[in-house]
């Protein structure tokens, strides 16, 4: 795991190339504290910050091909590098390191831009082809590793995080209101958009080639795709499919344990992470070291389930207990690393957990992220299933009663009162045929934050229609897919890639120089699961049916059959102690500061602040709006500092 940065083009010559590279990569030291590496050539600059995990002795980057005509810097892991290397060696390729990075330049020599098709991994790659004078940027299939780019001052610039671009391009250290509106609606921007002016995110599963004259070619090499409704299932029975899934999952875990440093695992107490740890225990020789979060607030705490798994598997386990105060204190650091507005605080405890993992001498952890998207685990999928069932007979009094089966873990459940639940979830029924039908209630809730925008920002985002705008990004084939496949696709492209793997994934782990690995997002597993019939994902209202079946004999019954409890943390309550705001919160919500930033209406934001301070913000909408405003304000303040530093 590492950080990368660089540029293509000669630029205006106001600063020496090496100084530019040092400035950029210096902001990414947390991603790679074990050393920096550079390659400079005619109109090209590559920089790398290394977190040493594979080939500690000779794996320093940049890495080149035998005739030094192809150079690469790369963030991530190529898990199948051993097999790729064997094949390449058999084909006559000669290697000078033992690293996974070196297979990239050899694959490029052999296959050109199609080299990505051969990679099983999580990666963001920058590759310089000196013969053809072109820069190739590539990102993994599901968006585990980030890669941003911008065009300014006669150059194309790229980096693992926007802050590296801000260090040399102060004109990009400005919030873009439309990007912020997206982030506050969908929980994240929709690639290639970002919250920063002039900064683009390379979408997952894409290769961007930039020629020496500036011509760009963006190519999608992979996407989540599903069979048409009613397609025959590739397995004779669920048992047979569960067996195949088990084999694939074991192989994914085996590959992702590859490292020259010890690998740990997060244990949340749910099915997904417990299953991974059980597989490590049963099918590998790797020692099992596990880590988990506990909350002082019982509503969010899963300690009992975590301890049950620890006892069952006998792992060497550490728990970090987090209070609301810890979250409030850590929040500004979390936002700085997230680099985007956030609607929940849940990333802050994960950042603290990564810090504990690092203190205990680990650099790599496996996480259960991705299983809900791949195998159909979220309440949102079940909720949509009930609402679609209801929409077929809108007058039915009994169909909406199924809503009562959802959200049992919430202290103030939206289905607590059946009549209101029906009224709330009955909204958006006119979108029943839309691919975003499942997401309309979520987006309706999160959009509460937009009502606090200042008049100027409202003007700037006028015309933004979250439903229509998002629908315009979807592939035509989605209309032929099953309803849950549509829901999975939208979820994978919005919350997973944009938020869970980013602000709440890569950035919070990297904040502590920890590499997270996500076996459930091995593309072979994603492709396997995509072909499954809908009833093997959600069976009745039982989520992740086939995954449960595949893991059943490895887990205690209470874990294998447990209904999913999404990971959450206390939100607005984290920022007040007995009605008194933390100092930085009071500052960011002060009328003077709100006016200075210009993003939000001071009077409206002030009323929300008062409501939260009084402890009267109990619903998702208010809490998310508060966290969204606070995080946007903190980002804005950070950008002011970045512009000053870069000037």
């Amino acid at each position: 795991m590492c950080g990368i940065a660089g540029f293509l083009g000669h630029g205006d010559g106001t600063m020496p190339p090496r100084m530019l590279l040092e400035r950029m990569i210096g902001t990414l030291r947390h991603r790679g504290p074990d050393g920096f590496g550079y390659h400079e050539g005619d109109g090209i600059g590559l920089a790398h910050a290394r977190l040493s995990i594979i080939d500690l002795a000779t794996g320093d980057q940049p890495i080149h091909n035998p005739d030094r005509s192809v150079w690469t810097v790369f963030n991530g892991e190529i898990f199948n590098y051993v097999e790729l290397r064997d094949t390449l060696v058999a084909q006559g390729h000669v290697f000078y390191t033992q690293s996974d990075t070196e297979v990239i330049v050899h694959l490029y020599d052999r296959y050109g831009d199609a080299f990505v098709d051969h990679l099983n991994g999580q990666f963001a790659i920058a590759l310089w082809d000196a013969r053809r004078r072109r820069l190739v940027l590539a990102r993994d299939r599901t968006g585990i590793r980030p890669l941003f780019h911008a065009r300014a001052r006669g150059r194309t610039w790229f980096a693992s995080e926007p802050r590296a671009l801000h260090a040399v391009l102060p004109e990009c250290a400005e919030l873009d209101p439309r990007g912020v509106a997206q982030a506050l609606s969908y929980w994240a921007c929709v690639d290639p958009d970002t919250v920063y002016r002039g900064v683009r995110s390379l979408p997952p599963g894409h290769v961007l080639a930039i020629e020496h004259d500036g011509r760009e070619t963006l190519r999608r090499y992979w996407d989540w795709t599903f069979p048409a409704r009613g397609s025959p299932t590739p397995y004779a029975s669920a048992e047979q499919a569960a067996g195949a899934l088990r084999e694939l999952l074991v192989d994914a875990v085996r590959l992702q344990l590859r490292a020259d440093v010890p690998v740990g695992a997060y244990l949340s107490g749910g099915l997904d992470s417990s299953g991974l740890v059980a597989i490590i225990r049963r099918f590998t020789d790797a020692p099992v070291r596990t880590f988990s979060l506990a909350f002082e607030d019982a509503e969010f705490d899963e300690s009992a389930q975590q301890q049950a798994m620890v006892r069952h598997l006998g792992t060497d386990h550490s728990t970090l207990r987090v209070s609301s105060r810890d979250i409030g204190t850590a929040f500004p650091t979390f936002v700085r690393h997230a680099g985007s507005p956030v609607l929940r605080t849940a990333g802050a405890p994960l950042m603290l957990l990564a810090g504990m993992v690092r203190e205990q001498g680990y650099k790599v952890v496996l996480t259960g992220e991705g299983a809900d998207e791949v195998f159909g685990g979220y309440d949102l999928f079940k909720e949509a299933k009930v609402r679609r069932f209801w929409a077929r007979q809108p007058e039915s009094r009994f169909r909406p009663l199924l809503l009562g089966r959802l959200y049992g873990y919430l202290a103030r459940s939206p289905v607590q009162h059946a009549a209101f639940a029906q009224s709330f979830f009955g909204q958006g029924m006119q979108h029943a045929a839309s691919p975003v039908f499942a997401h309309v209630p979520r987006w309706t809730t999160s959009q509460r934050a937009l009502q606090f925008l200042s008049a100027d920002w409202r003007d700037a985002v006028s015309g933004f229609d979250p439903v229509a705008d998002y629908e315009s990004t979807l592939p035509d084939a989605i209309a032929t897919w099953s309803p849950i496949a549509r829901d999975q696709y939208v979820e994978a492209k919005t919350l997973l890639a944009g938020y869970l793997l980013a602000a709440q994934g890569d950035r919070v782990a990297m904040a502590a120089s920890i590499e997270g690995r996500v076996p459930y997002l091995d593309h072979r597993l994603v492709e396997f699961a995509s072909r499954l019939p809908p009833q093997w994902k959600i069976h009745g209202l039982t989520e992740k049916y086939l995954l449960r079946k595949a893991l059943a004999d490895l887990l205690p019954a209470e874990i294998a059959t447990r209904t999913k409890q999404p990971y959450r943390a206390p939100d607005s309550a984290s920022f007040f102690v007995d009605g008194v705001p933390l100092d930085y919160v009071a500052e960011q919500f002060s009328p003077e500061r709100l006016r200075e930033a210009g993003c939000f209406d001071p009077a409206a934001a002030g009323r929300l602040f008062d409501k939260c301070r009084a402890g009267r913000a109990t619903g998702f909408a208010d809490n998310q709006a508060f966290v969204g405003i606070l995080s946007t304000m903190l980002l804005e303040a950070g950008l002011r500092d970045a512009r000053r530093a870069a000037a």
């Binding site: 939206p414 607590q416 009162h417 009549a419 009224s423 809730t445 009502q451 409206a604 009267r616 619903g619």
Partner: protein, 82 residues
């Protein structure tokens, strides 16, 4: 301030975060219109119970009683007379 104004003021401040009375008509759909969400209804009921010393029974927790200022005002009036 009469009850209709009191209810309006509460909704404006707590759900629309404004003092601008023109932002909300008496017959505007609060729940169907997305102004008050499902947990917001609970906030509203807590406010009405405290302000008017009434008790809202579970079977009375239906959208018809709370979906507009007109509906809430009429419901509160009935409860206070009972």
């Amino acid at each position: 301030m009469d009850s209709r104004q009191t209810i309006r003021s509460f909704i404006l401040k707590n759900f629309l975060f404004t003092d601008d009375a023109s932002a909300l008509a008496d017959d505007a759909a609060l729940i169907r219109g997305g102004i008050v969400d499902s947990t917001g209804v609970l906030e509203l009921i807590e406010f009405l119970e405290e302000r008017y010393a009434i008790r809202v029974a579970p079977e009375e927790m239906i959208p018809a009683h709370f979906d507009s200022i007109d509906a809430i005002d009429a419901f509160v009036a009935r409860k206070r007379q009972a």
